[in-house]
């Protein structure tokens, strides 16, 4: 269990949060530091609490104790829309795009200021050219991959300083995973990213830093390049099936 050490240039700092959903104590001390300009990945088994950590940062499941500090401001306890408006974009797991809205409306809805979409149009359609063609189609007529593209694109519409991206590769065909990786790598040039990714290869190729969450606690953090070499740790927290993949990743 690594103690909490403040890194220089920290954009977001989650400090020992506890989160309850109903009576269930889901997070029991999660600390995550997200340095600016890099990709930090949350790793952990299914049900470890990765999604809940993202939701706690955003105030969707507000933490009961602990602190969340964004750009030096304590944001725990604030309403979710206020937190988002400070410049945090969210790409939820299982592609929660709006099915009754067209692709264009999905993007328009994400505007915080008039003209947000116009200003970022070239970036968005540059990353996901398909979306331009699908503009008029309602959300529930998109394929799974297209929905995932739209979910990421939606987070790019306003000016965000931090993106919370939850399992962007989930259920995508290998070729689309490649495309998604390219997109995220490009985004890193302008924003900071906190990523949840089960695909270890993808995580190891993208992220600079990692935090392992296990059973509602953050148990390890450090440089991704070190983790790739530490088979024991990977084995212990991420399961044997990933062990072979580590070798591939190296």
């Amino acid at each position: 269990m690594s103690g909490y050490i403040e890194l220089p240039n920290t954009l977001l700092s989650v400090q020992g949060i506890d989160t309850y959903i109903g009576q269930f104590h889901i997070l029991e001390g999660v600390s995550v530091d997200v340095p600016a300009g890099a990709i930090t990945v949350l790793l952990g088994r299914n049900g470890a609490g990765k999604t809940t950590t993202l939701k706690s940062i955003l105030g969707l499941t507000p933490p009961r104790t602990g602190k969340v500090i964004f750009e030096g401001v304590e944001i725990q306890g604030k309403r979710a829309f206020n937190i988002a408006n400070m410049g945090i974009g969210y790409v939820p797991e299982n592609r929660a795009i709006f099915k009754a809205l067209s692709v264009l409306e999905n993007l328009k809805l994400a505007e915080r200021k008039k003209g947000d979409l116009e200003r970022h149009e070239s970036l968005i359609y540059g990353l996901f050219p398909d979306l331009k063609r699908l503009e008029k189609l309602p959300g529930d007529h998109l394929s799974g991959g297209q929905q995932q593209m739209l979910a990421v694109a939606r987070a790019l519409v306003p000016d965000n300083k931090l993106l919370l991206i939850d399992e962007p590769s989930e259920g995508l065909a290998p070729i689309l995973i490649q495309e998604m990786m390219e997109a995220i790598r490009k985004l890193k040039e302008t924003t900071t990213i906190l990523l949840v990714e089960q695909n270890f290869i993808m995580a190891s190729k993208l992220a600079e830093r990692f935090v392992i969450i296990d059973d509602g606690r953050s148990v390890h953090s450090g440089l991704m390049s070190d983790l790739v070499l530490n088979e024991e740790l990977v084995q212990q927290y991420l399961g044997a099936s990933i062990k072979t993949r580590v070798k591939e990743a190296k």
Partner: protein
């Protein structure tokens, strides 16, 4: 793509079925009776739509079943009727409503300073409680010996007296200013105390940027000006209203009912429904209880009687039926001849009202950002919030809009239905059935469902009378239709599958 086609095919089948039923009814009923019954059905359908549109939007977005919707329909009728017949009561109460709202609306202006205060934990906890008590006391002083019941009864006096001479001054008498001024003042103080209490002074975990103060200045200023005006004109205004053109007065009655609906809906949502979103079942009980409270208050104010509102002049001239729309507009004839069928002109107006509101809701839902937020929120309010949108505020607006539509239905029905404390109950029941048939959360479904139900009731009534069956047949027919629709499409005609 495949799904798109399937939806289209379903739509064509539905339209074809509707046409077949209409042609069959036409053949069986005969032209004259068919046209008359269809127009009656459309009139009913229009009112059902006004009730169901609010119900379906509120349920779709917030999962709230509003069992007080019928009571709000009824309140709309009472407010409109009061305004039309004698607005003394409304203008007498207006300063109270405005002064309390003015005090409350100062929240965004004072909150940034209040939460910056350094208060001990104990004070933070107990100060709001003390303020609530003081606010209640101030309100008590404000209404001390204020003759609300007397004001409410003025409309009844007017109904009997205005034909004989013009004793308007007498029936719109208000308390003299020398005694009155303390009331709005105490209510502003009461509202302000409440505002301070709900701002939780000293609680630094809250978020209230000072930069926004300027933006929030407009509404309180508008309210303050209207408050002062409302205090100054409370005596003359009722007379001015009563002496103006009857059609204009009716238009203003509609505006009054709608404004009341918006205000009342917003207050109910913020104070009673918002704290219960985490306990949906309690909301059902709360709205049910609220409907009883509203009904009892109305009985207290206006006695458990039924009133008949006179029709505005445009629909009031009795005699020969107008032969064209132009002639009707010129003579204000109460009936119009539509291919040999004599039909009340006012009911045509109600049909028009329903169609206009359907267009309004359609434009709102498909062309505006607000509509986009509502459609998205129906599916996933959390994700809408995560985009940086204040979903709670949207909930309030949608609830207010829904109640305003119900109130509009109420005043629309007032000139041809007896106004009484129970008048909303049937419409609430039919509204719920409409929503189930049309599909929860779909305003298009509410429109189609309302048309189907309106027609079913009209033709049910017609055949019950003709075949001397029990009129309950018409009521039963709507439930039978609901069952058939649910067997074919369990989520209703336009319901989305999960």
């Amino acid at each position: 793509m495949k799904q798109l086609k399937r939806n289209k095919i379903g739509l064509y089948i539905g339209i074809a079925a509707a046409l077949i039923v209409l042609v069959a009814l036409y053949a069986v009923t005969g032209q004259e009776a068919f046209i008359r019954t269809t127009l009656s059905g459309l009139t009913l359908g229009s009112l059902f739509f006004l009730v169901a549109a609010g119900l379906t939007l509120i349920f779709g977005l917030m999962d709230v079943l509003n069992f007080a919707h019928g009571a709000m329909f009824m309140l709309g009728a009472y407010i409109g009727w009061q305004f039309y017949t004698n607005p003394t009561f409304i203008f007498g109460m207006l300063p109270a409503v405005l002064s309390l709202s003015f005090g409350l609306l100062l929240i965004p202006l004072i909150k940034p300073y209040l939460i910056a205060l350094n208060l001990s934990e104990k004070l933070q906890k107990n100060l709001p409680k003390l303020l609530y008590v003081l606010a209640a006391l101030a309100a008590l002083v404000a209404f001390w010996q204020f003759d609300i019941l007397g004001l409410a009864k003025t409309a009844m006096v007017a109904a009997t007296v205005t034909n004989v001479g013009n004793p308007l001054a007498e029936i719109s008498a208000q308390e003299p200013m020398a005694r009155f001024w303390i009331r709005p003042l105490m209510l502003v103080i009461s509202g302000l105390l409440l505002a301070v209490a709900v701002s939780k002074p000293g609680d630094k975990s809250q978020f209230a940027p000072r930069e926004k103060i300027g933006k929030n200045l407009i509404l309180p200023i508008v309210l303050l000006v209207s408050l002062i005006v409302s205090i100054l004109v409370r005596e003359q205004a009722p007379q001015i209203v009563l002496l103006m053109n009857g059609n204009l007065r009716f238009a203003l009655s509609i505006v009054a009912a709608v404004l009341f609906g918006i205000l009342f809906g917003a207050i109910i949502e913020i104070t009673m429904i918002r704290p219960l979103y985490i306990r949906p079942f309690f909301i059902v009980l709360m709205t049910l209880g609220l409907s009883f409270v509203i009904r009892e208050l109305v009985q207290l104010l206006w006695d458990p009687l039924a009133y008949q509102m006179s029709r505005p002049p445009l629909f009031a001239t009795v005699g020969k039926a107008a032969t064209s729309v132009g002639e009707w507009l010129r003579t204000g004839s109460s009936t119009i001849n539509i291919s040999g069928v004599i039909f009340p002109t006012y009911r045509l107006f109600v049909i028009l009202l329903g169609v206009v509101m359907f267009i309004f809701v359609t434009v709102l839902m498909t062309r505006t950002r607000m509509g986009m937020i509502i459609r998205a929120g129906v599916q996933d309010p959390q994700m809408v919030e995560a985009l940086g949108i204040n979903v709670k505020q949207v909930f309030t607006l949608v609830f207010a809009l829904g109640v305003a539509l119900a109130a509009l239905g109420g005043i629309g029905a007032a000139p041809f239905l007896p106004i009484n404390p129970l008048m909303g109950d049937t419409y609430q029941m039919q509204g719920f059935i409409t929503v189930v048939i049309g599909g929860m959360g779909s305003y298009v479904g509410a429109f189609v469902g309302a048309l189907i139900l309106g027609m079913a009731r009209a033709f049910g009534d017609y055949y019950a009378l003709k075949l001397s069956l029990s009129p309950a047949i018409a009521e039963a027919s709507t439930v039978i239709i609901m069952i058939i629709v649910l067997l074919i499409k369990p989520r209703g005609l336009f319901g989305k599958k999960e």
